[in-house]
């Protein structure tokens, strides 16, 4: 039986005082009762806009400009007010991307359920509490969460509560908009499994909206691929995996690989055993995403030093009185030789970012020593720290907040060139343009004049990398440098980082939860769990033949399009 019939649906954004933009163009598809469908696309593809429209949540400035959405025979595209509200029980429901923020911070979880029951009166008064208990147990939470406030629950628990709330409407269609994106890797997987299980048991129709083709192929039976507002491919997951028809789908698929394989290859990057190389063939996209050019210039003769951590520990005072102190890092030792790349992997809270703070001198260790060559980083004061900042540079996770939106690219790059490089005037400018050339942002003159909002995420991250390179550092610490980027842009940035290390001999500390990218750009790896090192060795060796259970768990969390077919 057809539950949802979407015909030629188009949605336009009509922002105040700006040109209207068509976000969804002529979407046409049918969903049968009980189907589990994935809707995949990268940022700006229109997938979330479509998801919101299907659940009657399209709001100004978005407007359904043409087409119809027939839900069980009634057109809901142009329904509103009370009629639409009534449809929401036993109709269509939605679980939002940031489930963490989807709950009212000042109401208990129990009251959230009570509000829904009161709004639709579909559960008799005396049964309401029992029904709420039933629902939270379905998402594998204890009944006691009903008396808690959202702030007292973890991100994963809040997302589960949001799912239970949506389920309380007895929906026949449930849209999950990036339900696990904001969660930690291991939690992501657990929540996803609950969703799959629920869908199987309750047999509702589900749409999983996601940017991650890997996750979608793993969990759903049918996949719609969206690109620039158009559904470019619609077919069974297995067929899309084996025989993708559209070039865009092919491109997306080419960016997945198994970090456990002997040879791992992404467009522009290839690792066989522990040999890494950039293949020179640039990844897809216009010239700006090309592999680094600019020729190898030998570094001016500064000596290179190793980063050495010996028995390093960091304990934070208890967050509240009466609680235990927080052990963020516990007895960690490692050495990064000049020009080496070390991966630091682990789930959130494993202490990886604290180690970065210790090496950059932002925090001081409570035990052990952190050294750069002969310098004890933990004991540095002003002038020493200033020198350290020249030698150790960071590339941050979020390229959107790492650049000051009011400053042009040229200004951003000029600061370190002037402050640390001591160059002035024309020389400084030449250095800035050089840097842009190195990170592949050409034509350099044009990019120098741009402001951050005029750049894409991948281009911004290149600027951040150029800024880190500007003072000719010895060590670059990259904290999840690609996790905020679209899958298709990741390979380009990784190839850039890898190329820079080869050309300039910079040491790299690569912090990530993503084992695939760790495999691609590092030769040694350290797996952290709750501040302790649980496994270490050559990256290829550790990932191909993991010994610790935690490493295996992390490996299993990497989305594998292929796994569905196995």
């Amino acid at each position: 039986m057809t539950l949802l019939d979407v015909q030629d649906l188009s949605i336009v954004y009509e922002p105040h005082g700006a040109e209207p933009v068509t976000a969804v163009r002529g979407a046409t598809f049918r969903l049968e009762q009980g189907e589990f469908v994935g809707l995949v696309g990268e940022s700006g593809s229109g997938k979330s806009t479509l998801g919101f429209a299907l659940t009657g949540l399209a709001r100004a400035p978005a407007r359904i400009s043409s087409g119809r959405i027939a839900f069980d025979g009634t057109d809901i595209a142009h329904l509103d007010g009370e009629d639409l509200r009534r449809q929401r029980r036993g109709g269509f429901a939605m679980v939002l991307q940031s489930g963490m923020n989807a709950l009212n911070p000042v109401r208990t979880i129990g009251n959230h359920f009570a509000d829904i029951f009161a709004a639709h009166e579909h559960v008799p008064r005396g049964r309401r509490r029992d029904r709420a208990v039933e629902l939270v147990e379905k998402v594998k939470l204890p009944a006691s969460v009903l008396d808690r406030y959202p702030g007292e629950l973890s991100g994963g628990m809040r997302q589960r509560v949001a799912i239970a709330l949506a389920m309380s409407l007895d929906p026949r269609l449930l849209v999950f908009d990036e339900p696990t994106t904001a969660l930690d890797v291991l939690v992501q997987r657990a929540v996803m499994e609950t969703i799959i299980e629920l869908q199987r048991e309750e047999n509702f129709t589900a749409i999983l909206v996601s940017h991650d083709l890997g996750v979608v192929l793993e969990s759903t039976a049918r996949v719609l691929v969206m690109h620039e507002g158009v559904i470019v491919e619609d077919g069974p997951a297995a067929r899309i995996l084996q025989d993708p028809q559209d070039d865009y789908t092919k491109m997306l698929l080419s960016h997945y690989a198994d970090p456990r394989a002997e040879v791992v290859e992404l467009p522009g990057l290839r690792v066989a055993g522990s040999q890494i190389s950039t293949t020179g063939e640039g990844p897809a996209g216009p010239g700006t995403d090309a592999a680094p050019s600019g020729g190898a210039k030998a570094r001016t003769g500064r000596t290179r030093e190793a980063v050495v951590l010996e028995g390093v520990g960091k304990v934070y005072p208890p967050p509240r009185r009466g609680e235990d102190p927080v052990v963020a890092v516990d007895d960690v030792s490692f050495t990064i030789e000049p020009g080496d790349a070390l991966a630091l992997v682990g789930a959130s809270g494993s202490g990886k970012s604290t180690i970065a703070k210790l090496i950059t001198g932002v925090e001081r260790p409570t035990a052990g020593t952190v050294r750069l060559g002969e310098t004890d980083v933990g004991s540095l004061r002003r002038a020493g720290l200033r020198r350290l900042r020249r030698d150790v540079q960071m590339v941050f996770q979020d390229p959107y907040s790492a650049l000051n939106p009011l400053h042009s690219v040229e200004y951003t790059l000029m600061r370190p060139v002037v402050n640390f490089g001591g160059l002035r005037g024309l020389e400084a400018r030449r250095r800035v343009l050089d840097l842009l050339d190195i990170v592949g942002l050409t034509p350099v003159e044009q990019f120098a004049a741009k402001l951050p909002h005029q750049l894409s995420g991948g281009q911004r991250q290149r600027v951040v990398i150029a800024r880190a390179l500007a003072c000719d550092p010895q060590v670059i610490i990259a904290d999840e440098p690609v996790s905020m980027l679209d899958v298709s842009l990741r390979a380009g940035v990784l190839a850039l980082i890898e190329g820079l290390r080869e050309q300039w001999g910079v040491s790299l500390l690569f912090i990530t939860h993503d084992l695939l990218s760790a495999r691609l750009v590092t030769d040694k790896i350290l797996v952290l769990n709750r501040g302790r090192v649980v496994e270490r060795g050559e990256t290829a060796q550790v990932l191909r033949f993991p010994e610790d259970a935690y490493t295996v768990e992390l490996l299993d969390a990497v989305p594998q399009p292929g796994r569905a077919a196995d």
């Binding site: 509200r85 929401r88 429901a93 939002l96 923020n101 509000d115 709004a119 409407l169």
Partner: protein
């Protein structure tokens, strides 16, 4: 409960600090009230030591060392003994303050609460009906009226409603013939006298509450929990009140606490213009007549009322926002 106890402890501590500062600060100033009085007299010729002794006897010279004085002072504060007023000799300061306080508390206090409640409700409505007439009317009017200076509004009302149209009395808190008591007739008379000063305060403070609430609520309306509540088919009223407004009011409570604390001290201009016998008017008299005991008692009371108002808001906040309770 532990949260409230902790807040009470904090309140007592700050109260003690305020009282102590109130004691030590004037003593750290050079000169003394006697010197000031003698300096005034000295303009008309030499002052004999006998005059000095007489002034000292009248004002009272502290005995014992400063710690003994401090202990005595603390005892006096606890028993509300602030000495005798210079201006209204021989009335005691506490009598003066206690007579003035009810007028201010009732008139200004009630208006402040009404302004907050009314302004917040209008703000909720404006945000919920954003872009419609219900939004633009209160928002524009609010912006306009809140830009009026206090005393100027007071003078305008006084002139047109009191003097030209003679609808309301122009000064005082009750008719000259009436004596204060709790009869219905007297309360009606007092309320009639309170209309002009009350409306003045309402006009100038209402706009701020409307704008503040509207702007925070427009932000919370964009929050995910509001979208999710809507997606779950909650009734629009519940979404607006229990979800959007309920969260938007939290930051405005802090402002309300400050406004409540300012009730005692902040009504000086209005009370002056309307000759309203409240604390503000008393403070005005104390300052112009250099009535030190009266001033000191009033300053202390203003400090205490700010602290107490903040305490009330803190407790309220703990009740309304579970995140602060830990």
């Amino acid at each position: 409960m532990r949260y409230v106890l902790r807040k009470i402890g904090l309140l007592l501590l700050t109260l003690w600090a305020a009282v102590t500062l109130n004691f030590f600060l004037p003593r750290m100033m050079p000169g003394s009230p006697t010197d000031a009085a003698i300096a005034k007299l000295a303009q008309n010729g030499p002052v004999s030591p006998a005059t000095r002794a007489a002034i000292e006897a009248q004002l009272g010279v502290p005995t014992g060392n400063i710690w003994d004085q401090y202990v005595t002072y603390l005892g006096n504060v606890l028993t509300l003994d602030f000495g005798v007023s210079y201006t209204f000799f021989p009335q005691s300061v506490s009598d003066l303050v206690l007579t003035a306080l009810p007028w201010t508390l009732v008139m200004v206090g009630v208006v402040t609460i009404v302004a907050f409640v009314l302004g917040t409700l209008l703000g909720v409505l404006a945000a919920w009906k954003r872009g419609t007439f219900l939004d633009s009317l209160p928002t524009l009017t609010g912006t306009f009226t809140s830009a009026f200076p206090y005393f100027w509004t007071a003078l305008l009302l006084l002139f047109f409603l009191g003097y030209v149209l003679q609808w309301f009395p122009t000064s005082g808190a009750y008719s000259a013939r009436a004596t204060p008591n709790l009869s219905a007739a007297f309360i009606a008379d007092a309320a009639y006298h309170a209309v002009l000063p009350a409306v003045t305060i309402l006009i100038t403070s209402l706009g701020g509450w409307i704008l503040g609430m509207r702007n925070t609520m427009i932000n919370t309306l964009g929050d995910d929990y509001v979208t999710f509540a809507e997606a779950n088919g909650l009734k629009p009223r519940a979404v607006a009140l229990k979800y959007a407004a309920r969260n938007a009011i939290l930051p405005n409570l802090t402002g309300f606490g400050l406004a409540l604390g300012g009730v005692v001290g902040g009504s000086l201009l209005v009370e002056r213009v309307f000759n309203y016998p409240g604390v503000g008017y008393l403070l005005y008299n104390a300052v112009t007549n250099q009535d030190f005991p009266l001033m000191q008692a009033l300053f202390l009371m203003i400090t205490v009322s700010v602290l107490v108002a903040n305490f009330i808001v803190d407790v309220l906040y703990g009740y309304l926002d579970p995140r602060t309770r830990r």
